[in-house]
């Protein structure tokens, strides 16, 4: 890390004592980035942008919000009606959660498609799974805070998962609630944790970026950079590309915030929480629907009752992502050169979309005579088969296409090579 010669004497003086400018120079200017990243590599910075947006809007909301069972709903409406631009801050935060998950899910599926979890990036991937789990906990607790009907009953359903734990389940659930049902004590601790966890996420994101900068970004070809002809500096090339990406992303985000702010929400959450009246359908926020479908898909298994089995399957569906770098042991990263993997990748995407659709419907209902319960069971089976059976077998039986010699080789022959792969990918 040779310190560059800064022309500004103040910068030189500071950098001599605190090498922050050298650090920035090293991580932004000298940091080599593959020159062939496509727009799917924008979603990591978009997720970071959303994290900051959520923290900033959330801090402002916390200034006006009252975490008490009898005041929370009113205080949110006060933000909507009486706080200057309170509606804007609240809608940015509320829709921000949905958009944070949209960009994060695209970021994750990009990693799956291009094999970004493979050696030497296993820890980078696993830290990402930790971030996903933290995001899910944060989003769930945040959804409880407005204390509407869906907040209350969603919290009741989700916290009841813990009663499935044998023997100590009921005691743990009572401890989590701080009482014998979801009530004021639950709301208070959820508010406290909802304020804390984003900063934990921020810290893990820092480590995630540290792990990223050790070996640099993967790329659409999935092959390593072989020399300076394969790379460009992160700044200005990818900073300007990220700026453009953020502006386009903001168009979508603003479209919902200003013109359909309740599109992702449930009307029932504009009814104040009422422990005596259960809504006919309790559904989680859309980003949890695939997991909700997995939870409900699992029947009694041998000595494990359906509730416990469902909870294990639901958490297992994320926990198994920690083992993905070893389940998929094919040495080829990018799906561009793995025709069989590419096919199964799209089946997985389809299975996840189907799970989301099943999660939004009652399991008793049916689609053209096929019960949603069974559609959910098939999609759930595929999800686990994909990771636990198909990927390990593919590593042995798939014959990958020949890899290009270097990143700059196909980039130079973009017209001949690029046109073909763009269509398929």
């Amino acid at each position: 890390m040779a310190a560059p010669a800064f022309s500004n004497p103040i910068v030189r003086w500071i950098d001599h004592r605190l090498p922050i400018f050298s650090f920035m120079h090293h991580e932004m200017h000298e940091y080599p980035t593959p020159k062939n990243l496509n727009y799917f590599w924008n979603f990591g910075s978009l997720a970071g942008f959303m994290l900051i947006t959520m923290i900033v809007t959330g801090i402002v909301l916390a200034m006006h919000y009252t975490p008490h069972a009898s005041l929370a709903f009113q205080s949110v409406e006060r933000i909507m009606r009486d706080v200057n631009y309170g509606w804007l801050v609240r809608y940015l935060h509320m829709n921000g959660a949905s958009f944070f998950f949209i960009v994060t899910y695209i970021h994750i599926f990009r990693g799956l498609y291009y094999g970004s979890y493979k050696t030497p990036r296993e820890l980078l991937w696993m830290l990402g799974v930790v971030i996903l789990l933290l995001m899910m906990a944060t989003a769930f607790m945040g959804y409880v805070l407005p204390w509407g009907q869906m907040s209350f009953w969603g919290a009741t359903v989700i916290t009841n998962f813990f009663t499935a734990i044998p023997i100590v389940g009921d005691a743990i659930t009572t401890w989590l609630w701080g009482g014998y049902s979801v009530d004021n004590a639950t709301l208070n601790r959820f508010f406290s944790l909802h304020y804390l966890l984003p900063f934990v996420i921020l810290a893990v994101v820092g480590v995630h970026v540290m792990a990223l900068h050790r070996h640099g970004s993967n790329n659409p070809l999935g092959i390593d950079m072989k020399g300076p002809q394969d790379s460009i500096s992160f700044h200005p090339y990818y900073t300007v590309k990220d700026y453009f990406g953020i502006a386009v992303f903001l168009l979508f985000y603003a479209g919902f915030v200003f013109f359909a702010p309740n599109f992702f929400g449930e009307p029932d959450n504009y009814i104040a929480a009422n422990p005596l009246s259960t809504p006919p359908h309790i559904v989680p926020e859309w980003y949890f629907l695939p997991f909700y479908a997995i939870l409900r898909a699992v029947p009694d298994l041998w000595i494990i009752d359906a509730k416990l089995a469902g909870v294990i399957a639901m958490f297992g569906s994320i926990i198994l992502l920690f083992f993905l770098p070893w389940l998929d042991h094919s040495p080829v990263r990018s799906a561009r050169f793995r025709p069989a993997y590419r096919f199964f990748f799209w089946v997985l995407v389809l299975a996840c979309l189907v799970l989301g659709w099943v999660g939004a419907n009652s399991p008793d209902a049916s689609f053209h005579g096929v019960p949603f319960l069974w559609i959910g069971r098939i999609a759930t089976s595929y999800y686990f088969l994909h990771f636990l059976v198909i990927l390990p077998i593919l590593g042995y039986v798939e014959k990958p296409k020949p890899l290009p010699l270097s990143i700059s080789e196909p980039v130079l022959k973009r017209t001949a090579y690029g046109a073909k792969t763009m269509e398929k990918a």
């Binding site: 020159k35 727009y39 799917f40 924008n42 009113q74 409406e77 909507m80 009606r81 509606w87 804007l88 809608y91 949905s98 949209i102 899910y105 695209i106 460009i232 200005p236 090339y237 300007v240 590309k241 700026y243 453009f244 502006a247 386009v248 903001l250 168009l251 979508f252 603003a254 479209g255 915030v257 200003f258 013109f259 702010p261 309740n262 599109f263 992702f264 449930e266 009307p267 029932d268 504009y270 009814i271 006919p280 359908h281 559904v283 859309w286 629907l289 979309l353 989301g356 659709w357 939004a360 419907n361 009652s362 973009r414 990918a425």
Partner: protein, 251 residues
Amino acid sequence: MRRVLSVFAALASLAATPALAAEGGPLPEHHWSFQGLFGTFDRPAAVRGLQVYTDVCAGCHSLSLVAYRNLADLGLSEDAIKALAATATVADGPNDQGEMFDRPGRPADHFVKPFPNDQAARAANNGALPPDLSLIVKARVGGPDYLYGLMTGYEEPPADFKLFSGMNYNKVFPGHQIAMPQPLSDGAVTYADGTEATLDQMAQDVTTFLAWTSEPELEARKRMGVKVILFLLVLSGLLYAWKRKVWAEVH
């Protein structure tokens, strides 16, 4: 870019999985003045709707999130707001003798509830609790169409339908059994602006008014949204040009 867009579209359609429709009947399709990118509240309709609320609904339904002063947004004059507020009796206190006292309402007061508490409301309504109407349009699947359908959806039950005693048949209400008797019928109010008070007219007007109480920020939100989108379009174009310029030497 096209791929990015298609992923967005796929995710949007996932989220758009039909909201679990209330098990009521089909809702009437109606065009509302406040829909669309540039929609605004039809002021005369909302003011007539306020009259329907105060003359009919307010007997049972509270509107506790709305203050009288908020009516200035609908174009009511300060004097009209003061006069309307003064018709309400507000319990205030304690005074410096330590006693609670009644006083006429002021513009800063919220709409006074018809019943002091939920138990009193149930006692007066055959055990049913009339919901607060402040957020009713946002809090129902179908929004304004649902409310309009409910107001105009009272009819005789089908011959094989078992209606419980004290209940009424409504074709859009989930389960079709509603405790509220038909609230509006032709001529139920006499409009101050001379409009003929048909059932359909009153249902539209009160829906417009309650859409406003649900989303009083709607007009400011859409006005700002148009500016923000135009700004972002220009910004995206400029950033794209900048990106092209920076990357020109790489390709």
